[in-house]
Amino acid sequence: MIVVSEMLPVIMAFVAALISIVATWLAVQERDMLIATLFSALQSTCYALIYYLLMAPDIVLVYLPVSVGILPLITIILIKKTERYEE
């Protein structure tokens, strides 16, 4: 029988995965590209948490700056140079 404390990382990973699905769905649906970028960053944060729970700290450290820092930044620069609202 599996004790709850042993199951905790799995439950956390499950919750993070569910949140990331919702965030992805909202990012796809959103017409305002700036808010869609924020939803995408939320999904990346959930993935970083899952990587941490799967005991891959090196991947977390490379995933956090790239997907939460640099990727939304480049997307926001792109949105600023083009159009904010999707038709």
Binding site: I2, E6, M7, P9, V10, A13, F14, A17, L18, I21, W25, L53, L54, M55, P57, D58, V60, L61, V62, P65, V66, G69, I70, L73, I74, I77, L78
Partner: protein
């Protein structure tokens, strides 16, 4: 339309459930199991092993040892893929330059002050990740991209003209990146060149002494493990990443007035 939305949502939730079920009971096995697989045992045995230096990387951090020692050539080509992409960006924006006084002087005073407080902290955290990459999780790319986040914060809050005023021009960023890449090449062939000059055998990407070769990078710095090439690779990789990625971000941040000179000018045709 409504029904398909529900179907997609339910199927994605089922996928998540299935994956969680696999993680718990099947495929990946329980998290943090006590019995290690034979491959993991072998890596743990040879990552830091002072009794069998000819097989060891002499670094307490297994991932960095694998990435830069056991499969160093793979990592070298991964790095070159990233930097070839940056070469493409530079080629696209060739001739571009930051012009002073085009638009506003950055964001508001509140943003500037908080950036002043936060950016040095991020820089220090990134540097510690890069320089301790052989002792704790982290490494050259991780540290370099952390520092790039701080640099982009500075570039946005203070505008890219700030870099120009601090003598951090586009050419200088390119030079920083090239110095990092050159350092990687120099470190990887250092022992080979030494062996050619002094006689004997050595390999490229050689770290500790190997069978047939007594040449070795320094494995200790005072009382701390230095892990030879791992430290130097992490250092030069972080320098290359901070130079290259900051250059890419500054190029993307160029204003319309600066881009008109290279796109509409026609002087390059």
């Amino acid at each position: 339309m409504r029904l398909s939305d529900i179907a997609i949502g339910v199927s994605m939730a089922m996928l998540a459930l299935l994956l969680s079920y696999l993680i718990v009971y099947g495929g990946l096995g329980p998290i943090a199991t006590l019995n290690l697989r034979p491959l993991a045992v072998s890596f743990l045995n040879y990552t830091y092993n002072p009794w069998k230096i000819v097989y060891s990387a002499m670094s307490p951090e297994a991932v960095t040892a694998i990435v830069w020692d056991f499969r160093g050539l793979d990592t070298y080509f991964e790095t070159s893929v990233l930097f070839i992409a940056i070469v493409g960006l530079i080629a696209l924006f060739r001739g571009a330059n930051v012009v002073q006084g085009v638009s506003s002087k950055g964001l508001s005073i509140i943003v500037k002050t908080s950036t002043k407080l936060v950016a040095p902290l991020i820089l220090v955290a990134g540097a510690s990740l890069a320089f301790h990459g052989h002792l704790s999780p982290g490494g050259g790319f991780q540290g370099g991209s952390f520092m790039t986040v701080a640099m982009t914060l500075l570039a946005i809050a203070f505008s890219i003209e700030f870099f120009q005023q601090k003598k951090l021009t586009l050419n200088r960023l390119l030079a920083i990146r090239c110095i990092g890449l050159l350092a990687i090449v120099v470190v990887s062939v250092y022992l080979l060149v030494k062996a050619v000059l002094l006689g004997g055998y050595a390999y490229i990407f050689q770290n500790m002494p190997r069978i047939n070769s007594q040449y070795s990078m320094p494995s200790w710095f005072l009382d701390r493990p230095l892990a030879g090439i791992l430290f130097f690779f992490n250092l030069s990789e972080s320098i290359a990443v901070i130079g290259g990625l900051t250059l890419g971000v500054v190029l993307l941040l160029l204003r319309e007035e600066e881009l008109k000179a290279i796109i509409g000018g026609g002087e390059h045709e």
